[in-house]
Every structure is written in C-alpha cells, then in structure tokens.
Symmetry: C2
Subunit: 172 residues, 2 copies
DNA sequence: CTGCGTAGTTACGTGAGCGTGATATCGCGG
DNA sequence: CCGCGATATCACGCTCACGTAACTACGCAG
C-alpha cells in the first residue's frame, strides 16, 4: 500500500533522475550535463546540493526523448537546443499528430503531413524531420513498464521500434 | 594565353586545396582535417609530403558542398561520413534532381519528391533531407566566378541562396 | 540519533574537430 | 641553379560532450 502510494506520486507528474534515464535511454551523466548546461532543467524541482533530488515532469521527459532521437540520428546538441526552444513555444499543439521540422536557420512544428510536403517544396537548406507520434506512444508504454519494475533495457544508440505509426497518403 | 591554359587545366577536372576552400566555403584546416581523417580524400592527386599539392575532382567538390550543408544544419561529421558513402555508391544518379535522405540507421537517394513523401509516411526515426539541386547549381555558378578572379565571399555558417528551386505539388 | 542507501557534486580524463602559428618542402620564375 | 611564394605538415592548445571514480550530503529506517 505504501508502495502504491509512491507509484501514485510518480503518476501525478514526478520523475527522479535515474528513472528518467531509464525511460529516455540515456546515461545519468548526460542527464546531469544537460541539466547543468541549461539544455533541459527539471521543471518541477531543481537540485539544491548533494543528496537532494531533481524532479522532472512528463513534458520534460518527452522533450528529453526528442533530444535523444536527434542525437541518435546524428544531430548536434547545439541544434537540439533550438529544437527544445521550439517545443517549449508550441506547447498547446497536439504533439502526437505533429512533426518537428528543423532547418539550418529555424525550427517549426508541422501539424499535418501536408505542411511537411509544402516545406519540402520550398526547398531551402536541409530538413530534419522528427515524427513526434512515435515518441509519445513509446513513452506511455515505457512508463507502465517502469512502474511494474521491468527495467526497460533499450540499447544505446539504437532506434527503438516505434508503435502506432500509421502510413498516410500524400494528399491528406 | 598561358593563363587561359591554366584555366583550361582547371576546367578539365582539377581543383587545388585553397580553391576548393573558396568554392565550398570552408577553412583550409577543415579541408586538411577531412583529408587526413579519411572523410574525403582528393580523388585525383593525394598529397605526398610538404610542398606537394592535393588535386580534387568536380565530384569531390560536390560532396564537400553537401558535407558543408550538413554541418551548417547541425549534423555531426560522423553522420556526414555516412552521407558521403551513400553519394559514392549512387554516382550514376542525376544528382541535380534527387534528394539525399539520411535516417538514424541508413542513407538513401530519393529521385523524385514522391519517394520522399513515401519515406515520410513510413515514419521511422528522424529524416535529414538534403535537396541536391541547389548544391549543384550553386557550385556551377561559383566555379565561373572563381575563374574570373572574383573571390566568392560567402559568409561562414550562413545558408547560401539557392538558385533554381522550383516549388512542386505533392502529387507529382 | 545513527547508519545507510541514494542521488547530486567535484575532479580528472578522453576523443572529436577544429584554430593558430611555425616549419618543411616543392616547383616555378628568373 | 637559386630564391621565393604556395602548400602541406607539425606541435600545441582549445571547446564541447561526455565517462569514470571518489566524495558528499540528504533523508529515511531502525
């Protein structure tokens, strides 16, 4: 019962450092480095000296997973910073049905696949396109697994199998 | 007349190090580093000690420009290496009408915009899409400028204005 | 109140990807 | 054949993005 209480506390919105590492699939040193350098601070509770605990929100973990995707696909942390800024600005959007698009100069959210096609037709520079649906679904599944005590052993640097990606026609 | 001969020699396929730097918009140290680390060796003449000259082919310069685009858009040199491998394998293709697509696991060439849309519908991982038409056209224009002695002063890290990008409808 | 585990902090090291000179050497003009 | 500029090479150092290990401090059980 006391354990169930702890689980509930997690559900309400709090994730400690090590748990976040398991969910996102990064090392603790990366999480720590990112927090110190200001890439992504825990939005619920910041660390106040040794022994204290950082507490991350669900939204934080989502952004971290996006960052991890970017790193796995060979994008620099610098660019990931711009991506995070974009996600922060467009929080109202439905992430599960949107694509994050980064170009050399700016980053935007494309709600429909049609918008992505339009951007491609514009044809300037390089496009980094991140489908967010996979990230959202995957996180939901992993949270359940973590709360059961199953250790979510995902290999480092390897793309996780995305759940719930539905192929679409171009003219949607 | 003797000068015209030198120019002709360049046209046939040879570019020295510093000229390549000006064309691509990178520093000599970058070109040197990339040659030493095996990212992109001059395919015509390698360096054999101090005082010798590296000679790059037109194809080399094209690949270098692609690498530069990747770097400007925040992609790591590691990923750029994979991109170069892909370009090497698909040399027969018409680069000016193709897009280079990099995912976290592999790299491919998409000949039509339709293929790009199909790939997006597949929806796995992150897509880095490089329209090659701009790179090809830009290089041709810059080569003319170089041979006139005009110094092609392009700002570092800023995307060059692409020529000849034509917007297309999705169902092409 | 006293261990003790857990989590954050510090110190130090590492490799990639260059920048900055200084140096060595080639090849060409005179 | 001899200087001289152009080009490659070397030595050194720097920043980013972490890894490893040791240390430290909180907070909870007993």
């Amino acid at each position: 019962m006391a354990e169930a209480q702890e689980m509930a506390a997690l559900d309400v919105g709090g994730f400690h450092g090590p748990v976040v590492c398991a969910l996102v699939g990064i090392t603790y040193r990366q999480l720590d480095y990112w927090a110190r350098t200001g890439l992504l601070r825990p939005s619920l509770v910041e660390a106040k000296g040794s022994g204290t605990k950082r507490v991350y929100s669900y939204q934080d973990v989502l952004e971290l997973k996006v960052i991890k995707q970017l790193l796995d696909s060979g994008i620099s942390l610098q660019s990931a910073r711009r991506a995070v800024d974009c996600l922060r600005e467009e929080l109202g959007a439905d992430l599960a049905s949107a694509n994050l698009v980064l170009t050399s100069t700016r980053s935007v959210l494309a709600r429909s696949n049609g918008e992505v096609v339009d951007l491609l037709a514009g044809g300037q520079g390089v496009f980094n396109i991140v489908p967010l649906s996979g990230v959202v679904d995957e996180l939901a599944a992993d949270i359940v697994r973590i709360e059961r005590g199953e250790p979510v052993t995902r290999r480092q640097g390897e793309a996780a199998p995305h759940v719930g990606v539905r192929p679409r026609a171009a003219g949607e």
